[in-house]
């Protein structure tokens, strides 16, 4: 599951065969255990696949956010961007009578545009990604609320709603097909293309990337464009899932998605991790949550368990990676960071 860029590193760093494989084993065990112990979890293959409709929008956002986090940045505006993209799509369809699929494309393009704005603010004004995207998320939120008005649009054509609720032959959800295509694309892009290597390099050591002649600003900006477009696409899929839009519909995406990306093995400091891990984490967390809810656990317990899993997983990962604890680990971690403040001297 790990890609070529990280494979070498993962092998040397994770003696147990990689974080991704461990996640995969965990995922399979979890699905098997849930299927046998939770009535209603696996009634039929189609109903089981249908469960993915409830969490794949998180996965779409996670793919885009992974690219940003690989560069060592973060995009807090994904929630507002999802809402904004969906609202613009819906308003174009409702008030301008635009064919809905063209409106969808414009919605995604708008997501890319607000991502571009994020990227330019971050690279041109040298602003920290966290604060820049926090600020722009407030602004996009206002724009979304203003466009949505008192009664936001709803009741889209069934052909569009199928994107969120339908399944090919009543078996494979369109969402799952969309996500699979995107996942493969992102995995190839990050592992097999020069672009992917550049992204990882910028995140691994920005200064080294700059000195080796990479246009770091452009590469970083492009990551935010991708993240914005994916967020808007996720918002549009949610719009189809609900057959309705609301400015706050993306709010729930942010924290869960960061959790997913990090659980998937992408280092929050950038430069390390693979799309494969993120995809497994999406499925793992998604099926876990659905399974727990079907088993009758409350949303509160489910949320708490998710938080605990995140902490436990990263702890185990640190322990298994043989990096030890305490200061030795810190020294290694900071060396791996490759941030601009760390020079050769600290080694």
């Amino acid at each position: 599951m790990s890609n070529s860029v990280t494979a070498r590193r993962s092998r040397s760093r994770f003696p147990l065969g990689g974080w991704e494989s461990s996640l995969l084993v965990l995922f399979v065990l979890q699905v098997l255990a849930s299927s046998f112990s939770i009535p209603g979890f696996f009634d039929s293959f189609s109903s089981w696949l249908g469960l993915t409709e409830n969490f794949l929008p998180f996965g779409i956002v996670a793919l885009g956010l992974s690219v940003v986090i690989l560069t060592g940045g973060i995009d807090l505006s994904v929630g507002s961007t999802a809402g904004l993209g969906a609202i613009v799509m819906a308003e174009l369809w409702l008030h301008l009578g635009m064919p809905i699929w063209i409106a969808v494309m414009i919605g995604v393009a708008l997501g890319a545009l607000v991502g571009l704005i994020n990227g330019l603010i971050i690279t041109r004004f040298n602003t920290e990604p966290l604060i820049a995207t926090l600020a722009t998320s407030f602004i996009y939120r206002s724009v979304g609320t203003a466009l949505a008005g008192e009664s936001p649009p709803s009741g889209f054509p069934d052909s569009f709603n199928a994107l969120g609720q339908g399944a090919i032959g009543g078996l494979i959800p369109y969402q799952l097909i969309l996500f699979s295509i995107l996942a493969v694309l992102f995995a190839l892009l990050m592992s097999r293309s020069a672009y992917g290597r550049k992204i990882v390099m910028v995140g691994y050591n920005g200064d080294a990337a700059r000195y080796s002649g990479l246009r770091v600003g452009r590469i970083v900006t492009s990551a935010y464009v991708i993240s914005g477009a994916m967020a808007a696409l996720a918002g549009i899929v949610l719009a189809a899932y609900y057959s309705a839009v609301r400015p706050d519909m993306g709010d729930i995406l942010l924290l869960t998605t960061i959790t997913t990306v990090v659980l998937g093995g992408i280092s929050i400091f950038g430069g390390e991790g693979s799309i494969g891990g993120v995809v497994i984490a999406v499925l793992l967390l998604g099926f876990l949550r659905q399974g727990m809810l079907i088993a009758g656990f409350s949303d509160m317990v489910t949320t708490m368990v998710t938080g605990a899993i995140l902490l436990a997983a990263i702890t185990i990962r640190n322990l298994l990676s043989g990096r030890g604890t305490g200061m030795a680990l810190l020294v290694r971690r900071f060396r791996n960071l490759g941030r601009d403040k760390l020079t050769e001297a600290t080694k």
């Binding site: 009535p39 209603g40 979890f41 009634d43 469960l51 409830n54 609320t145 949505a148 008005g149 008192e150 009664s151 936001p152 709803s154 009741g155 709603n161 969120g164 609720q165 949610l238 899932y241 609900y242 057959s243 309705a244 609301r246 400015p247 706050d248 519909m249 709010d251 729930i252 949550r289 659905q290 809810l293 079907i294 009758g296 409350s298 949303d299 509160m300 949320t303």
Partner: protein, 330 residues
């Protein structure tokens, strides 16, 4: 489970002797599973519904579950609905975070033969079997205006402090109150509408800002629990008690101190506990197919209710004031 039964017993004891089974005319032979899904769990006003529902469920042979999301989000509610569908509940009752986003999940439930009953905040009409409207919108709009207008000059300037710009039920009430105000108090004007995002702290800040940015305002209507509390607290902090009258709607526990202090003269609501009981009666009858889309039905000692195209109006507004507020605890 044990706790729930104990709570039910306790509630029954608290409610006193009125709880004697009068469900003789309702077929309760088959035990059914009914879920109540509030906008979010952990909020007292929804717990009042739960209190009533538990009491009624015991009489109606209902296996009752109160469950909901931890944030007021549609996604959270949809996840809960999906789990209830998978667990084959017989009836889902809910008050929605918004009317449109929940519809597909509830339609899926109906397709599987699950009865859906909405209360307080409705969902799209084709995504539920019955809707229990707390009070009729025009009557509630009138009560909201009266809660302030009776105590200030007929040409006064007032402000509205609502929850969010797209909150369905608040917008319906604001529409109704504007219509009533235009006829009953034509000289009264609304100078500003602000939003407290259903958060007491943001409502308090908004209330302070309204009062200082618009010193001519002598009345604030807060048609949202957090907004009403925030507005009342703002009036008290600025020492404007008696000079600015605050009205709106909230559960009595949250505003008791302000009613006693005279910041709030009266506020309309409805009996949330009894409404919870009615929700269970409608759930039971809907499962039994013993309730018409148009017509009327009897819900034990709650009395007889009219059904109009699936909409049931629970009651007239219940007005709390300094005299009666201590009779209500929720």
């Amino acid at each position: 489970m044990k706790n729930m039964k104990w709570a039910g017993f306790l509630t029954a004891a608290l409610l006193g002797l009125s709880v004697t089974a009068h469900a003789a005319d309702i077929d309760t032979s088959k035990r059914i599973r009914v879920a109540m899904v509030p906008k979010l769990v952990g909020i007292s006003v929804f717990k009042a519904n739960q209190k009533g529902a538990i009491a009624a469920a015991a009489k109606l042979n209902i296996d009752f579950l109160y469950t909901g999301p931890v944030t007021a989000s549609a996604q959270g509610q949809v996840d809960v609905f999906n789990s209830l569908i998978a667990r084959r509940f017989n009836v889902i009752t809910t008050t929605s975070n918004n009317p449109t986003e929940l519809a597909p999940a509830l339609r899926r439930a109906m397709k599987q033969g699950i009865k859906v009953v909405s209360y307080d905040s409705d969902v799209a009409p084709d995504a539920r079997d019955f809707f229990i409207q707390n009070t009729a919108y025009p009557a509630f709009g009138k009560a909201l205006v009266d809660s302030v207008a009776k105590y200030i000059k007929p040409d006064a300037k007032i402000a509205i402090l609502s929850s969010t710009p797209d909150a369905t039920i608040q917008n319906e009430w604001i529409k109704a109150l504007k219509a009533y105000m235009a006829t009953a108090y034509p000289k009264m004007t609304i100078v500003t509408t602000q939003y407290g995002q259903s958060s007491v702290s943001q409502s308090l800040t908004a209330g302070l800002n309204i009062l200082q940015a618009h010193p001519e305002v002598t009345g604030i209507i807060g048609p949202d629990a957090a907004a009403l509390v925030g507005a009342a607290a703002a009036v008290q902090k600025l020492g404007l008690t008696g000079k600015v009258i605050v009205g709106g709607c909230s559960d009595p526990d949250a505003i008791r101190q302000y009613v006693k202090a005279g910041v709030i003269k009266e506020t309309p609501l409805w009996d949330e506990v009894k409404e919870g009981e009615l929700v269970m009666y409608v759930a039971r009858l809907a499962y039994n197919n013993a309730i018409p889309r148009n017509g009327s039905f009897t819900a034990g000692d709650l009395g007889t209710f009219k059904v109009n195209d699936g909409v049931i109006i629970f009651s007239d507004p219940l007005i709390f004031n300094a005299q009666n507020i201590d009779n209500y605890h929720f």
